[in-house]
Point group: C2
Chain length 381, copies 2
């Protein structure tokens, strides 16, 4: 037996309390017991999303289903939207929007630059009839954190334009002030900051987004927000919910409320900083730009001359530490350390130690222990 | 503490082996370990669906998502389809088809009659350009079992018309010979005969259904069959799968292969027969017609003068046995005993004993023990 450590940006490790909660004997979903679970999930999610004005809807699907739900519920075919993107998941929002016949303008920044709110402002000034701005807050593929607060300030001036935020690796890792910033639609998946297995997704819908929904004519059934909202009034769901995952979610939300959302965000900031300091002390270069580094995942360049796929494979197979490789153009060129959800100081120490041992094996020239030293310093603060 | 018994037609009880398998520490989905899980799930599902010719696709959603996937992948707006229905879930297929702009003819039989294959034949003779026949095999709301084998014989003569079978409570309870009968699309949900929590759905796609898919122009993304099939070639999924549920599914499919599909079907037939005999011996009347009674669920009329909601509530709250009430027009007028999935002889005995004790409390006139006696006789065979 070798102990295993899951350091990926989703799925993320699930606390034993949650694993066992979802292993409880099955209950029926049309019962007062389960209505109580629904209530706890919705209230807990509103707390985590920092919203009182928005409804939070739950779907049995993974994050992509939630993304699709935003498109089909907010728009009509032919609607103009702008997608600002710097990674794989921004691209997916573009693909979904095109699939449903929207007129999509993309603001592409490459994977190493943040979305510039001034570009959104320029787009909206030139296209005052635009119906949506779509942006990824925390881009899992590139580690880039976009400033959705600043973007929201721009969108606020357009009463018929909704701001849709993919916060799938944002919620529970970085600050997401749904009400205070004015985010119309925010979505997340269960296998991220919510510390659950994948299979559930949550979407918040602001009053402005509900107005968009009222005029939307795109076809939808399973992802129909109105059906879900109507059922939620009775603490239930229109279709059979993912019962075990929701029981797990009620448990993980209890853990999150115990810690407090501000403390959760601060913990993620600390762990991300320690990871960055540790890697830089090893002479490695961070992938995401200094002005937009998220706290969910730290992508790192593989040093020149080393085989990135081998690095990830040695960490996993020799040391039991699973980190993620790069995606698309960056496969083999970067690796990504996830520290999103159920993580503490010594998960970062473990990962950096495994990284150091792997770099020794790959013949990389550095001072073993220097990464740990820097991380310890950052963790002490 | 009172022991609890879940006798509903979904969610159904989950074996401890499966509950614990899905409570294992989380693993990443883009790994050889999880590819092995995908392979086991697909191979096991093909065994249960009795198919070698069809692909079986898996989605992180509940049954309604699978139903929607069939509509959006097989058709174009304006396509003619016929929906034969005798319950709530047939009606849902009609609603989904209308949502996507199909030209829907409905053959409505009420909740107590089987779909007549001759009516399908007459419809197709009058509408040779029809693109689809949609039918529920085992209607959970009414307990009616439709003869999809006979319907398939009719549809076979129309090369451009696919037969879509909602077998959500059929698979694992009654015979479903996907290849031998020629069923083009068959769907099921995890929380039924597969003995899992809800949140996963499986859909089989025949070569004829793939041809329909090729010409389909309805928009789809999350439920796009082609994306799923392409990923399955590499034993993976296009979007994050419901990892824990799939690990549970691999385990439940192992249990099902151990028992053997013929034995599983025979066990369900025995338990359903014992339930029916037991209820009739109590002087209760069965709801589903003699020519079409499924083995997944037994709906029973509440005797004249008794309060059906009270009956269900006493069984649950006094005796710990949860059965389902009636839906829609039959709320309070029938109750439904589920015996689909992880059930054995003494679950039926327990349920009938709880029913007898409840009927005593409600002042119903009968001979206590007579239901059990009849059930024992049926179980001995």
């Amino acid at each position: 037996m070798r102990k295993k450590y899951l350091m990926t940006p989703g799925p993320t490790p699930v606390p034993s309390e949650v694993l066992l909660a979802q292993a409880r004997p099955m209950i029926h979903h049309r019962t007062p017991d389960f209505e109580q679970v629904v209530r706890e999930c919705v209230e807990g999610l509103k707390y985590v999303f920092q919203t009182e004005q928005s409804d939070v809807l739950l779907f049995a699907c993974s994050g992509t289903g939630a993304m699709e739900s935003a498109v089909v519920n907010c728009f009509c075919a032919g609607d103009k939207v702008v997608v600002g993107y710097n990674g794989k998941f921004g691209q997916r929002m573009e693909q979904i929007s095109k699939t449903y016949g929207l007129e999509v303008t993309k603001l592409e920044y490459g994977w190493q630059k943040v979305v510039d709110p001034a570009d959104i402002a320029a787009y909206l000034a030139a296209n005052p009839d635009a119906r949506g701005v779509i942006v990824t807050q925390s881009e899992t593929s590139s580690g880039v954190l976009n400033d959705v607060e600043a973007i929201a300030r721009v969108v606020k001036d357009y009463p018929d334009c909704v701001l849709i935020v993919d916060s799938i690796t944002g919620i529970g890792a970085v600050d997401v002030q749904t009400d205070a910033w004015g985010l119309d639609v925010v979505m997340t998946g269960s296998q991220k900051g919510l510390m659950l297995p994948p299979g559930l997704a949550a979407v918040s819908v602001s009053p402005k987004a509900w107005r968009a929904c009222e005029r939307s004519t795109l076809p939808k059934f399973y992802f129909d927000w109105k059906k879900h909202a109507k059922s939620l009034e009775k603490d239930t769901t229109p279709f059979t919910p993912a019962v075990s995952l929701m029981i797990g979610l009620a448990e993980s939300l209890r853990l999150m409320r115990e810690e407090g959302i501000e403390n959760i965000i601060a913990r993620h900031a600390r762990l991300a900083e320690a990871t960055r300091q540790g890697c830089e002390a090893l002479g490695l270069e961070l992938f995401a730009p200094a002005e937009g580094r998220g706290n969910a995942v730290t992508p790192v360049w593989v040093p020149e001359g080393l085989d990135g796929k081998k690095l990830v494979s040695i960490m996993k197979n020799r040391h039991g530490v699973t980190v993620a490789g790069g995606q698309d153009d960056y496969a083999g060129r970067i690796f990504r350390v996830g520290h999103l959800g159920y993580f503490g100081d010594f998960d970062i120490i473990t990962t950096l130690a495994a990284l150091e041992m792997t770099l020794v094996e790959l013949g990389y020239d550095f001072e073993p222990g220097s990464g740990i030293k820097a991380a310890e310093k950052a963790l002490i603060g």
